[in-house]
């Protein structure tokens, strides 16, 4: 099979060797990414991931979908958001959640079995993780329709104009719903940015099975702008997302961004990726690590005022340790839900039959507990 899907060269600013193209760093209309903050966010997001995997290995989580290798794409995208923007994630957007202020302990509940959600989507406009691939792309479209109807697009007021950033993967673009979403977004010129992390693999299925052309080129067929960016380059990703969100908020319509990256870990902690891919491929992408390249740049004289020293890195290490400790403690302290919760949360107006089922179930649970004592 020919390798058409990766035949193009994604736009980049900071290459794998840590060399930064200053002429590309701040494209028109974008705000510069704060590089120290980006490094911090990527490092801490990776630590969340590492700790979650450890918690899974210890039996504290049932499952964990790792984001290892995708920190650049996610922090780049997450750093371009304004508080009034709205995010629709898949289930791997841990670094975006981190950037948007979601407590990482809350990310664990879904995988620990204490909740089907974990946080209040209205608190930070960060919607719940979506496990049914591409379902959230249509919710993003609907939300963007709401923004248009609220008049919160193209006003020129920075605090008012809003956009939706929806995450999807290379596999999701094969789903009908993602294609419907692109059709709807294009037809109505909605303020929505589709951020596709092409991490090369949908569990064991390579991207070549999903698309015979580079993913960003598919945007053209829908009549929307498509952009391909090096997803392991946090600077370039941020710039591209910043541009797309700015356009969307101004009423310029949707964009499909393909962030080319790599899922370095198995699909989830239950997966065994060496059954379908070579270690060498993984090592190649490890050499393109998003964190390493930014650290190299920020340690160099090239970084100028943004240069980081040992003290910065030591403080960051300490912050990592504190975060890890908080995750370990917080995970174990996540409250076990009440047996009545599913009954109470199903419908806003409780029905008589559900109420009867709830009472019977609670009596059963109480009797079980009585027997156990």
């Amino acid at each position: 099979m020919s390798d058409t899907a990766v035949a193009t060269t994604p736009w980049s600013v900071l290459n794998a060797d840590g060399e930064l193209r200053h002429d590309r760093r701040v494209p028109d209309g974008t705000a510069a990414l704060r590089l120290r903050e980006a490094l911090r966010n990527m490092v801490l997001a990776r630590r969340i991931d590492t700790e979650a995997i450890a918690l899974q290995r210890q039996g504290e989580l049932g499952l964990w979908p790792s984001l290892l290798g995708q920190e650049g794409a996610q922090v780049g995208a997450g750093s371009a958001l304004r508080p009034q923007d709205v995010v629709f994630p898949t289930y791997r957007e841990h670094a975006v959640a981190w950037c948007f202020g979601v407590d990482p302990v809350q990310l664990l509940g879904l995988f620990r079995g204490t909740t089907m959600g974990g946080w209040d989507p209205r608190e930070r406009n960060f919607n719940l993780y979506t496990l049914v691939i591409a379902a959230q792309t249509l919710h993003a479209v609907g939300y963007a329709m709401g923004i248009v109807r609220d008049g919160d697009v193209g006003t020129g007021i920075p605090e008012r104009d809003r956009a939706v950033l929806v995450f999807l993967g290379d596999g999701a673009l094969s789903q009908g719903e993602a294609n419907e979403a692109l059709v709807w977004a294009a037809a109505q010129q909605l303020p929505v940015v589709f951020f596709c992390q092409n991490n090369q693999w949908a569990i064991s299925t390579p991207v070549q099975t999903q698309s015979r052309v580079p993913i960003f080129q598919r945007a053209t067929g829908f009549g929307i702008e498509g952009v391909q960016v090096d997803g392991n380059d946090v600077v370039a990703t941020h710039a591209v997302v910043e541009q797309a969100l700015t356009k969307a908020r101004a009423g310029g319509g949707p964009t499909l961004i393909e962030a080319v990256t790599y899922r370095r870990n198995p699909h989830t902690t239950s997966d065994d990726d060496l059954r379908y891919r070579d270690r060498a491929e993984n090592e190649l992408w490890e050499s393109r690590d998003p964190i390493d390249r930014l650290r190299v740049y920020l340690r160099s004289d090239e970084a100028g005022e943004e240069r980081i020293d040992d003290e910065f890195l030591a403080a960051l290490s300490q912050e990592e340790e504190d975060l890890a400790q908080r995750l370990r403690t917080g995970c174990r302290a996540l409250p076990v839900p009440d047996p009545a919760d599913p009954f109470v949360y199903t419908l806003e107006r409780m029905t008589r039959e559900l109420d009867e089922q709830r009472e019977a179930h609670l009596a059963f649970v109480a009797a079980e507990e009585g027997n156990a004592q």
């Binding site: 909740t115 089907m116 959600g117 209040d120 989507p121 209205r122 919607n127 719940l128 979506t130 049914v132 379902a135 792309t137 249509l138 919710h139 993003a140 479209v141 609907g142 939300y143 963007a144 329709m145 709401g146 923004i147 248009v148 109807r149 609220d150 009908g176 719903e177 419907e180 979403a181 059709v183 709807w184 037809a187 919760d341 599913p342 109470v344 949360y345 199903t346 419908l347 806003e348 107006r349 029905t351 008589r352 039959e353 559900l354």
Partner: protein, 327 residues
């Protein structure tokens, strides 16, 4: 005023949109055309294309976008063009719409109404005569209702739109042009429809005949016919299929001792079976005869030249009543 059911729905949509500016409509061909059944006729003209959205083709898109709109604070009313075209939207309905309140631990309710013309008997081609209600009734997190006349269509649609829970609103398409009395002056509070409750259409003492939607007039005909034989049939219109108002039915069966349940949908795994289970749980010793079902058969919906006898009709219901009285 005597009004066709489709016109009562149109009036219900109009009044809901006037009462709440967050109410909006979304569906295929619902704008200039007014929908293939003309239920939305004139609404885009009067409320604009931001509130009455003629959508791209794609039922998943309709429901998925409605979910997003509801998250953004709107109250979308979706129109699915025909029952058989609901299925492309099933993923959004079952995995997303029905579950979101539970997943968000009660923090986010999705006030989405999905209007679906249902049922057969109109000589239609494939996929245009389906009765998918059991799929929805089996899905926790949805309300499923089905009006049978103009007043109920108007009242229940209003209540569905005001509901913060998602509602599957099944419209008996065979009855769209049947006229019956409609009072709309009560759109605010004078009539509280409470669409969780079944309605006793006609009181009786000898047998309870339960159905909903387009079969309600047929059940009334059965009752009139059997009255000539001095059999007093109590006809109940379920109205709500989820939740299911078994209490009204059980109370009735305690008085009559006999129960026949009819619906167009296939028999196995259907609403009638669920209702029968609940009635025998609660009124076992009141039953004088086995509970009987008159339903569509466990086949795909047949070619329309066969539908007259395939569908439950007055004669098949009469036959079931006779069999019940044999005990």
């Amino acid at each position: 005023m005597s009004t066709a059911l489709a016109h009562a729905l149109n009036r219900g949509l109009r009044d809901a949109m006037e009462a709440d500016e967050k109410v909006m409509l979304i569906g295929e061909d619902i704008g200039q055309l007014g929908g293939v059944f003309r239920v939305t006729e004139g609404l885009q003209q009067d409320f604009g294309d931001l509130r009455v959205v003629s959508s791209p083709l794609g039922e998943a898109g309709i429901v998925g976008a409605a979910i997003g709109l509801a998250m953004a604070g709107y109250r979308p009313v979706c129109e699915i063009q025909f029952d058989g075209f609901t299925f492309p939207a099933m993923n959004q309905i079952v995995t997303q719409l029905a579950k979101y309140r539970h997943r968000s631990e009660g923090k986010v309710s999705l006030p989405v109404v999905i209007r679906i013309p249902v049922g057969g008997g109109i000589g239609a081609i494939e996929h245009h005569s389906e009765s998918p209600e059991a799929y929805f009734a089996h899905t926790a997190g949805l309300r499923v209702v089905c009006p049978s006349n103009s007043q109920e269509a108007y009242d229940m649609l209003g209540e569905a739109i005001r509901s913060n829970d998602p509602v599957i609103f099944l419209e008996p398409k065979r009855s769209y042009w049947a006229k019956s009395e409609l009072r709309t002056e009560s759109s605010s509070a004078a009539i509280t429809a409470d669409f969780e409750r079944a309605r006793i259409v006609r009181p009786g003492t000898d047998l309870t005949l339960v159905t909903y939607g387009a079969l309600v007039p047929a059940a009334q005909q059965v009752a009139r016919t059997l009255e000539e034989e001095d059999r007093q049939i109590e006809v109940i219109d379920l109205r709500s299929l989820s939740p299911l108002d078994d209490k009204t039915v059980v109370d009735s069966v305690r008085r009559t001792g006999r129960l026949v349940v009819a619906h167009e949908a296939s028999q196995s795994g259907g609403i009638a079976g669920e209702l029968a289970a609940r009635v025998q749980e609660q009124a076992f010793y009141d039953l004088e005869a086995p509970i009987l079902r008159v339903t569509g058969y466990d086949t795909p919906y047949p070619a329309s030249r066969l539908e007259h006898d395939w569908l439950p009709n007055v004669d098949r219901m009469l036959d079931a009543c006779d069999r019940s009285f044999e005990h």
